[in-house]
Symmetry: C2
């Protein structure tokens, strides 16, 4: 048994925590801790007006034709998906590969689409669960269309919210980028999950879920299908994961019931961050199995949410080891309080 003094001393010690999936390391350096207010961004009015917005009226602003459109009961569009005008990966490109001396390169051929919800001001943190579920529905819809295209081996679905998180348009939107290579970030997780399975005959994400759901000290929210928690080796302060409770390798096979539960879970996760940190910039993305024709029975898809609470500087860029200043066990308490506050206001 530890005594109280030891426990308190340990609370202020910096920790190196290992990512159970990838073997990566993070540092929790609470001696460098900031107050909650310091995690909140300086308010900055960078929202474009509705009149100038390029996503409020996509036809008028010369966007490419929709590849998907959802309408509400009044027959107004509620969500639309169209190709990015400035794609990082473009279907116009052939799948040419080449070498230059010792180096290897290929054309960045692929698909780059924008998913826009109608309301110019309300992001996913402010939408109701069924509206969030509609966004998930669109993700799945486009995933199923893109996954069988030629030369597409991985599909990234993500959202950048706020200028500091890289959003160049303030109107809430997600992006879908379908690419010919399996990204190194995902490969680390795929390899980690496979090694863990080989050694333990269990999915590493299922093991994490079981642990988080049993002691609940980093758990923010759960419903029938999803658990929402701050990961043990959080890379940034207030990082949150949304993970299907059952072992599910493939996002695109999500059921209608699960989509509704995910609308609630993702909405709550984003809402708690929105309230606790006063609408910070954030990125979230889906990590799911590649669509390269191989099977990935040991992987477990999930969503990672990274609020923009820190600048990754020389140490992080050099080492890949992130320094965070709050323990996830403490971060989740702020988020739980914020979620309680948000949901009791509704």
């Amino acid at each position: 048994m530890k005594n109280k003094k030891q426990i308190l001393a340990n609370r202020n010690a910096s920790e190196l925590r290992q990512d159970l999936i990838t073997g990566d390391w993070v540092v929790i350096a609470t001696a460098r801790a900031k107050r909650l207010d310091d995690y909140k961004k300086q308010r900055e009015i960078s929202t474009t007006s509705v009149e100038e917005c390029v996503f409020c009226d996509p036809e008028k602003s010369g966007q490419e034709p929709d590849v998907l459109i959802y309408k509400d009961h009044s027959n107004r569009w509620s969500l639309r998906v169209f190709p990015n005008k400035y794609p990082a990966f473009s279907k116009a490109q052939s799948a040419r590969e080449w070498t230059e001396g010792p180096y290897f390169a290929m054309n960045a051929s692929g698909y780059h689409e924008i998913v826009v919800t109608r309301n110019h001001y309300l992001d996913l943190a402010q939408l109701d669960p069924l509206e969030v579920a509609e966004v998930i529905d669109a993700y799945q819809d486009r995933y199923l269309s893109l996954m069988n295209k030629k030369h597409i081996n991985y599909i990234n679905i993500f959202q950048n919210h706020g200028k500091e998180a890289g959003a160049s348009v303030s109107h809430p939107h997600s992006q879908i980028i379908a690419i010919p290579v399996i990204s190194p970030g995902l490969k680390l997780e795929l390899n980690g999950a496979q090694s863990y399975w080989k050694a333990n005959k269990k999915c590493v994400y299922c093991i994490i879920l079981e642990w988080e759901l049993s002691h609940k000290k980093r758990l923010l929210f759960e419903n029938d299908s999803f658990a929402v928690f701050c990961p043990f080796s959080s890379r940034v302060a207030f990082e949150v994961w949304v993970v299907p409770k059952k072992h599910r390798p493939y996002f695109e096979r999500i059921t209608n019931e699960e989509k509704i539960d995910l609308g609630e879970a993702l909405g709550n996760a984003l809402r708690s961050i929105h309230v606790a940190l006063d609408d910070p910039a954030y990125n979230y993305y889906i990590h799911t199995s590649p669509c390269d024709g191989k099977d990935y029975p040991h992987y477990h898809w999930h969503i990672e949410i990274l609020p923009h609470t820190a600048t990754w500087a020389g140490f992080e860029l050099s080492t890949g080891v992130e320094i965070s200043t709050i323990r996830p066990e403490d971060a989740v308490e702020h988020l739980k309080q914020a979620l309680y506050q948000a949901n009791s206001n509704n």
Copy 2:
């Protein structure tokens, strides 16, 4: 033979370039290109005054006692190294390891030091080659002291310049963090270099050098000991590497002659970035072999400089694939011009 039209078409196509060392991917998306001015940061007066500076008079501002001090011919200090007051890794901590359920963690024990040059306003881009060499000398000096400490397996040496790159104090300073684990970022390079050696019986960095020095299309500068160039798979616009020309696994074995050459090479690299992009924020760091008692004959130490020209957003965070908007072959032309301009002004 390609005709001119084909060449022009290819210039505007996005490319996926593979990092020869790690297998990582980057995208060069010139269709999303910005003008040179767009890479320059918005000027922001965030420099602390000399009176308020915590590094101009370290004793007065209550810094820890120096672990190293260099003096000039007037017996004034020119450079000093002292422990960070808010260390991410601290020698005060024992080397305790523990588990929590399925997870593994350890105390972040180690050393975190600050290297300060005297002048409050002039960073390495503005110092003369011998002054930069003195900084390198201090890096080596501290490296040699820290490498044999208990539980230290890797030593990170880096500099954050500018607020956007994570510098919280504007007085020019570098940091040295000695840690108990070998970072995943370095491990990728160590593994890549070893695999390449096994397959080709040659160092991958030597192969890169040979190629870059022969055709020179990404070469910014060279002297007897160092080559400075924009890497083929640059992760950010205007990324620059400084690499010893001879095969050298261990930074700490740098000779006096090489230190003087590195002062010139690193100074020129930073100066060209300073002039071309109007003093942008940047990070640089040394990647060298671990000091864990093992041999790393296949690795080749070097410095990577990352100007803060982009925000890594959802795509980069999710995939580990960076999107850059200028080809390194074009970036180096801007840098060469800037270097020529800077050196002819002196």
